[in-house]
Subunit: 152 residues, 2 copies
DNA sequence: CTTGTTGCAAATTCTTTGCATGACA
DNA sequence: TGTCATGCAAAGAATTTGCAACAAG
């Protein structure tokens, strides 16, 4: 389906950032921007195929990896070990609260952890400290649904 | 139902906890206890073979997985997507600071993050909140070594 | 035109599973 | 002795890579 540029920040900059500007890359880069959460390569590949913009799986992987390498996306691993990518508009790294039910993800104020991580690293004498933080749970909606269905 | 175990170096309790007490399981369970850090199945498998206690790779995986399921080990994924296991003597979950160079890992005081994570989840209305935190960097020794070699 | 990209399929890597044999209780 | 565990090898999954055809600049 033809899709017009809605209110997405132009992916053009991001595409050119990682090399040549092609149709496939535009599509692949656009997806994580519009999906306001984490996407995994395989799902994205299927999704694009279904949507009528078939892009090779390798290309999806390559583009997403390049995007992450260029610092425009965060890459994490889900419980199953799969790679998940999320678009990152700014240069700063962020942490997200992800709903395990519907996949909804929202950025959270990570100031305190940043400081904590910093302190710990300094205290222990570690250099080049890095950290990853993942918060997950059932979002309000899903939580209600679960509660209604009778949960532990 | 034996609840008398403190933090004895006896893997027996842990082995019986996950089923029948066999020689292989004893060896596999002992490894993560003695290695005070994260171990990965493949490395452990090689290591055991070299050490003269050959255990099938499948058995290593099965045992480690069972150990994690029984709550006696933490399982995380490293950057490459491999599973890493770490023995956990107590019932509480912990967070570690891991050296990216030598693999040294040490538990850190995660009180602040726990609270922070809790607060965030509550604020956002998320239920059944869970979190994972991974801190990494170059430990003092490795840090020095890197610095000496002219660090990035 | 030149060179970077794509897509396919084959190759890798890590992990799991089926099943006959062997070990524990 | 009856199960449950082991080990091997084959099966699965996710990701990467080689390479010829192709499109962007």
């Amino acid at each position: 389906m033809e899709r017009e540029r809605q209110h997405a920040p132009t992916p053009l900059a991001d595409v050119t950032l990682i090399g040549r500007h092609t149709q496939q890359r535009t599509v692949v880069v656009e997806a994580p921007i519009q999906a306001e959460g984490f996407v995994d390569a395989q799902a994205l590949h299927n999704q694009l195929a279904t949507a009528g913009s078939p892009v090779g799986l390798s290309t999806v992987y390559r583009t997403l990896t390049a995007l992450a390498a260029a610092g425009r996306a965060d890459m994490i691993r889900d419980t199953g070990g799969e790679r998940l990518f999320r678009y990152r508009p700014g240069p700063e790294h962020r942490h997200y609260l992800i709903c395990t039910q519907c996949g909804l993800s929202r950025p959270v104020d990570s100031g305190p952890v940043e400081e904590w991580a910093d302190t710990i690293a300094r205290t222990c004498g570690f250099a080049n400290a890095r950290h990853t933080v993942e918060l997950s749970g059932a979002c309000p909606d899903c939580g209600r649904r679960l509660a209604a269905a009778g949960r532990p």
